[in-house]
Every structure is written in C-alpha cells, then in structure tokens.
Symmetry: none
Subunit: 236 residues, 2 copies
DNA sequence: CAAAGCCTGTAAGAATTCGTTAGATTCCTG
DNA sequence: CAGGAATCTAACGAATTCTTACAGGCTTTG
C-alpha cells in the first residue's frame, strides 16, 4: 500500500469517535467515521477500508452480525472496540471473524500498535483461488488432470494415491512430516501394517519423480522421525 | 489447510507449559514445547510452526529480541504470552512484530480464539530460501540436503544423527560442550549407556570429516569435560 | 462375460541407520 | 610406572526403511 491506510471507524458516541479519529490521523492513517451500521454499509459500496474499528453497541444493528458479514465479505482487518469486558464476549467476537478485540477504555498507543500489527499482514485474498497446480524443482503437478510434468516436458499420469501423498508434501514444504501425521492426513483407516503401505507409496512416488534411491533430492527420509519435502513451491 | 496447524510453545514454567499444550491439543492443534530459546532456535531449522506462543520471561535470552527475529525471519504468527501488564510492554511487543499479546493469567478459551483469529489469515510470504548451509575449514555442510561437501568437492550424504551432532557443534563454535549439554541438546532419551552412543556418534562424524583419530583438527576432546569444535564458521 | 490392464495394499527379503557391547587405547593421579 | 577412569572404535544386532513381487479389486475392452 503506497498510500496511507484507510481506517473505518464505527462508533456511535461522538466523543470517543472524535478521539479515535484524531489519534489515528496523527499516527498517519486516513479515517472515515460512521455512527450507524446502515451508513457504514452504504459507504462500503464505494470505499474499501484496510481496517474497520467497530463498536459492538450500535443503536441500529447487532454489532456481531455486522462483524461476521465484514469478515466473510470484505478483506479488511476487523478490530472490535467494545465496553463489554467478559471473556465470553471476546471469544465470540473473535470467533465470528474479528481479528482483534480491544476493551474500552483503551490506551491510544495500544490501539495504534494493535492496528499496525493487523495491517502488517497482507489482506486476506478472495477464497476463489483454486491452486490446483504446483511447480517445484522443474516439475509441475496438475491435480486437476492428475498429471505430472517432468522438467523436460514429458507428461506422466499420476494415480490417486500418488497425488494424495504429493499433495501432502506440497502443503507442508520444508517441514518434517511424521508417520503419525501422514496417517492422519491420508486417512489411514487403522490398517496395522499401514506403515508398510506408506513406504510403498513413498517409494513409488519417488521413482516417478526420478529420484535416486540412494540419495533422494526431493523427498528426504529422517530415520525414526518421518519425511521432509525439500523444494521451493509455486502454486497456480 | 489439510492438517492440524503446528503451534510452538516457548514457556519456561512447566506447569503453564503443560496447560497450554493440553488446551491446544484438545482444540485440535499440534503442539511442540520448548523451555529455552536456544532449544527452540535449534528446532526451527527443522520445523516450521504456523504460530509461536512465546513467554517473554525466558531464562536464557531476551524474549523481545527473539520475537523480533521470528517476526522478520519466519512467516509464523507470533503471540506473546506474558505476565507483564503495562501498556508500554504490549505496545513495544506488538511493534517489534508480535501479532498479539495475551496477559497472564489468561483464559484458555481466549487463547484459542485469538490463536484461531491469527491463523485465519494467510501467513506472510514465507521467507525466501533460507539456505541451511554452513562452511568451515573448507567443508560445507548442507542441512537441507543432508550432505557434506569436502574441501576437494566430493559430496557425501550425512545421516540424521550425524547432522544433529554437527549442527550442535556449528551452533556452538569454539565453545566447550559438556556431555550434559549434548544430552540436553540432542534430546538424549536418558539411556544409561547414552554416553557411549554419543561417543560413537562423534567417532562416526569424525571419520566422515576425515579426521586423524590421533590428532583431530576440528572436533577436539577435552578429557573429563567434553568436546570443542574449532573452526571459523560461515552460515548461508 | 471373459480377458487385459491398472491401482493399491500385503508380504518378504535386502539395505540402512544407529544404539549397544566390549576390548583397546589414552589420560590423569599418585 | 601402576592403576583406574574416560574415551575410542570395530563389531554386532535390533529397529526402521526400501524395494520387489504378488494378489485382490476395480475398470476398460473385445
């Protein structure tokens, strides 16, 4: 974001609203204030704030419902600023999608710090991206076509079991995966000798990836601990 | 996310550590606990937690410095769990890169809710290739590939146990390492004859490094005290 | 419906890793 | 230099993992 982040403030009490706005402006943010949820929702058609500070005690709407809608439909960071002090309030607020929960009265410095912490992370992207193709170490795995394309362009079909294992690795790159985890992820239905089946799956995937059995480059074995997949991965 | 998120817990008090771990496991997370920052940093070379819960009052390191390092170098969400209640503590913690700050004593439900809120957002871009390579005395150790490259360019694979020992040395260069420390670092399972196992590990590593048994240049034995690794080390 | 082909778990033997054992060697003390 | 403790390493063996072969199940094909 090249520009100052835009912060929407939803707060029905004018005094607090003014304080929040001034504090944030002084800290280098742009602000836009609303006293009612309906106003705010109308404005949302035209503006896309980077973060929303919402007071739960609004006169014209249930604040939590609004938070939930914001969380699911907008990418903005949502910070509840509320006078309700119960733990349960915080928990439900956060679980409905709020990113933080600040109790009134609050210290301006903490509000700023928490807001900055939220804005440091990239905004949530739309859930629409499919991400069914991954490339790594010259290979490309297409999970729609169940195909594996080698660095030299040759395309090999990939079986379901192989795809499952590969997907598990691609979802956890550079991370140790224990056998227990594999069993959990791949839904190993409690077969007692399932460990052997796992070995065979790995072995077959390795050979399909052209790995040297003596010295595999991509799928490393950690004796007694599990496996680790080593590659930079790009999804598309 | 196809599998349970991995949460690292850095907390020196065993009671709290256990409570946190059990709470999180019950909520469907995988956890891994550490009592000291050094242990944690060593483990980070192998695991990639999705979030880190760190207590600021660690015995062996300044917690805030660790938070800052984590924030800049790892993509994990960072939540400080501290007994310090001052606003200023929270502000500096958050400004150094923490994503949230929870005050002890905390409600388990709130911890879970805040953790989930952090994990809902996609992780910051995973830090680009952090090559786990070190060079010393003409050798290069690649901890990703589990390979050891000799001064004349020959590449030898390195087993997990060997890599563990070598990494311990490379993390503590030119410093005496007692057997007790080795046991702690390498998670010795408390076997009575573990000392012998350690000897053998060292011996094997020495031979792989081409050390003259009569006069080792890199791994020196200090009779009755421990070992010391002598070399200039460059990480990359 | 039979035959062929592919997928995938099971079994079995080979290969690897790594702790244990034990005898040899080195080091310190007196 | 003797004696005991600490350390080294070769050899062994248990546990783990790899690969190949095989069989049952499912789908495709004639």
């Amino acid at each position: 974001m090249t520009d100052k982040p835009l912060i929407a403030i939803l707060e029905d009490e004018p005094g607090i609203r003014r304080i929040m706005s001034e504090t944030l402006e002084a800290a280098g943010f742009r602000t836009q204030c609303f006293a009612r949820a309906t106003e705010f929702e109308a404005a949302l058609r035209h503006i896309t704030p980077d973060a929303c500070l919402v007071d739960l005690g609004l006169p014209d709407r249930d604040g939590l419902a609004l938070v939930h809608r914001l969380a699911t439909e907008s990418g903005a960071a949502i910070i509840i600023v509320s006078g309700r002090t119960q733990v349960q309030d915080r928990v439900t607020g956060l679980e409905l999608g709020a990113d933080d929960y600040i109790i009134k009265p609050f210290e301006p410095a903490e509000l700023i710090a928490r807001l900055r912490a939220r804005l440091r992370r990239p905004p949530a992207q739309t859930r629409a991206d499919q991400r069914n193709r991954a490339s790594f170490a010259g290979w490309t795995a297409d999970f729609d076509q169940y195909a594996l394309i080698s660095p030299d362009g040759a395309e090999t079909p990939m079986s379901h079991a192989e795809a499952e294992v590969l997907r598990m690795f691609l979802d956890n790159p550079r991370r140790l995966i224990s056998r227990a985890q594999m069993l959990e992820i791949l839904g190993g239905a409690g077969g007692e000798s399932f460990d052997r089946a796992m070995d065979v799956r790995i072995s077959r995937l390795r050979s399909k990836l052209g790995e040297d059995p003596k010295n595999p480059q991509l799928i490393k074995t950690i004796y007694g601990a599990g496996y680790i997949f080593l590659a930079e991965i790009g999804w598309s």
